[in-house]
Amino acid sequence: MTRSAITHGTGAPETSGAAAISPKARKRRKARASWTPAWVAYLQAAPMALVFLLFFVLPLAATFVVSFWNYTEYSIVPAFVTTNYSDVFYGCAASLPSLCTTFATYLSTLKFVAIVWVATLLIGFAVAYFLCFHVRTLPMQIALFMVCTIPFWTSNVIRMISWIPLLGRNGLVNETLQSVGLIDAPLEWLLYSDFAVALALIHLYTLFMVVPIFNSMMRIDKALVEAAYDAGASGWQTLTNVVIPLVKPGIVIGSIFVVTIVTGDYLTIGIMGGQQIASVGKIIQTQINFLQFPIAAANAIVLLAVVLLTIWGMLRLVDIRKEL
């Protein structure tokens, strides 16, 4: 009794206090599983957000704004004009059915995107498949994977330029073919041609396809493959019904890498194409060199829109978030 009385006596304010606090606390606990205050999460995300804001969002916003400005030979003038965009598509309607500069450039870029995408996908898939299903031990897989990355220890440009002595008129390939007697005159189309550009792009960007596909493949439960075999599926059926559907996210991620990089690439196209093949990047560079920043900005925005549309299209095919 005494105890209860005491409990009761001292307990009264306690319970009333607890009653006052606990619903709030309970609510808070229900909303989040963590004891850390909400703002900590924002703080943790802040550095990256800040970097993004400073080096991505702001420059992009500036590019967008400037694309509506006016310009002279030596200055850019704040304004709101759409002439830069109409200049980008100058003559596109009038010159039909022949293509205007912008359409011709995008068509040429699209051609390279298609060639490079198909080639890197086939090669990338094959390499990843070999690494994943044919190489049996993990150390060997890692070792071979590292071998794939070795060329990437040197610079992009050097890997590209090293093709030139190979493919040139007096290059290794031509000299070998001539000495063997297969050809009489050097093959001109080996260098400074569509072929050279496609070759260099495929060489440079296949790894971007290998990595995500390999990553997706390694996650496939081997039991699934066994089950397919047990159920009587042929090798081809297993590939098309089990492996490919499961590595789809890897394929899409790899494709996004390759497609976006090739669309914006102008260095490879410039060097391997002998600057005779147009690319959007080169057009932008020329305009910037002549201080035509607004039209260069407009071109960049159009390029960005094209790339975003492509990615959007690809993501419509496969919902990466669901698959991951």
Partner: protein, 427 residues
């Protein structure tokens, strides 16, 4: 950085020295005051130009002779102009081409140099001052230095068009460009610019992908071929641009060009590897091919040369100390040693008399008089350029500069031209 830290320091010393505050406000008047505080630290001049013009030898010698530290900022031709316009505070001295002036001057980021402070201003080569050599007029198509050398006043944004007391740029180097060829891979002689578009060299020709210069080389070739004549190759009308680009597209589709180049080194590689046997080229590139032991000639052509000139300009934002140092450096530059140093790389120099004094007689005879070399010709770095007995392609100074047909230029229709050029690249 030195300049930024010293400026307030010297101002404060001046205040202590009892100089009126009114004088402080009018910073432009500073140079007339004798200021003992100024001599304490060596001045640094941030020297903006292309890498080709930035000889470490010149910086070392300037530091030795004048106590001025030269800090080179190396960028590409286009970037020099871009930087002058977008970052006028980032340099104290710019070495840029005259053809950039129609863009730079209206921006207000280049100020006139006072001829009274340049000792040898009236000794600058006549071809630059009034477009004559030995009294004979040279071609003035394009942005000729003679038309852009003078300003009516220090802060003017338009050219004077006649000799005045203010100069836009003090010439550093200039030269006459022509086609480079590989005589060992070519049958017969090349005598005309028309060869650049001659189907004989199908798949073995190259042109520069710097629109303003490339289109002039094309125009030289098209005019030489007899297809059309230009009013002013350096300032084409829209119709002329259309026709020129149409001719270029036709040649490109026929497979005339092996490649285009933008970087000096690309032209060296194209030529040295034999990918290209005839192309637009710059003089130091020819030298670079030759030092690899490969035959290469800077072929003089019947229609003449496309010339260019480069010179020192000052930004209006320059500090007083730096301005004094810049004038001192420019005077030193014209006084001989630097000129000789550059002339030994094949450039021509602003003041020929002082260059001659600073060179060995056999060097002067080879580089400027077109005579066979009495001794082996060495580069400033001590590399063998030519064996004794060789003569310079194109001959003497008078022969080469006297046959200038046009100058590197920026056209009035520049924006239109670049759009058409991009069309050519995309074709």
């Amino acid at each position: 950085m030195t300049d930024k830290t010293t400026t307030p320091f010297s101002r404060r010393s001046l205040l202590k020295g009892g100089v009126a505050v009114a004088g402080l406000a009018a910073t432009a008047r500073f140079s007339s005051f004798p200021t003992p505080a100024i001599a304490q630290e060596p001045v640094t001049l941030r020297y903006l130009s292309t890498a080709v013009n930035q000889s470490p030898g010149i910086a070392a010698k300037a530091s030795e002779d004048l106590g001025i530290t030269i800090e080179y900022i190396a960028v590409t031709t286009d970037d020099v102009a871009k930087r002058v316009i977008t970052q006028p505070n980032s340099f104290d001295l710019v070495d840029t081409e005259y053809f950039a002036l129609p863009k730079l001057l209206p921006s207000g980021n280049i100020m006139g140099l006072d001829a009274n402070r340049i000792k040898l201003a009236d000794k600058i080569a006549s071809v630059l001052r009034n477009g004559t050599i030995g009294g004979k007029k040279v071609g003035m198509d394009g942005t000729a230095p003679a038309e852009t050398l003078y300003l009516p006043s220090e802060k003017a944004t338009e050219f004077a068009g006649e000799e005045t007391g203010f100069l836009t740029l003090i010439p550093t180097t200039y030269n006459a460009d022509t086609l480079g060829i590989r005589p060992d891979l070519i049958d017969g002689e090349v005598t005309s610019w028309a060869s650049l578009l001659d189907p004989k060299f199908k798949g073995k020709a190259a042109i520069l992908n710097i629109p303003s210069i490339g289109i002039m080389d094309a125009a030289m070739a098209i005019e030489a071929r007899g297809d059309m004549t230009y009013g002013d190759k350096g300032n084409m009308t829209r119709e002329e641009i259309d026709k020129t680009i149409a001719a270029l597209i036709e040649a490109k589709r026929a497979g005339q060009f092996r490649a285009f180049w933008t970087d000096f080194n690309e032209s060296v590689n194209l030529m040295a590897s034999g990918e290209v046997v005839i192309q637009s080229m710059w003089s130091p590139a020819i030298t670079a091919v030759r030092t690899q032991g490969i035959e290469c000639r800077y072929q003089p052509l019947a229609e003449g040369y496309r010339a260019w000139a480069s010179g020192f300009g000052l930004p209006p934002a320059i500090g007083e100390r730096e301005k004094d140092a810049a004038y001192e450096f420019i005077n030193w530059f014209l006084s001989g040693w630097a000129g000789a140093h550059l002339a030994k790389q094949g450039y021509y120099t602003a003041v020929l008399d002082t260059t001659k004094e600073a060179m060995e007689p056999y060097e002067w005879a080879y580089w400027f008089e077109g005579k066979p070399a009495e001794q082996d010709i060495m580069s400033p770095g001590g590399q063998l350029l030519e064996k004794a007995g060789a003569t310079r392609d194109g001959g003497s100074y008078e022969e080469r500069m006297g046959k200038v047909a046009c100058w590197n230029a920026v056209m009035d229709e520049n924006i239109y031209m670049i759009r058409k050029w991009n069309e050519f690249i995309a074709a």
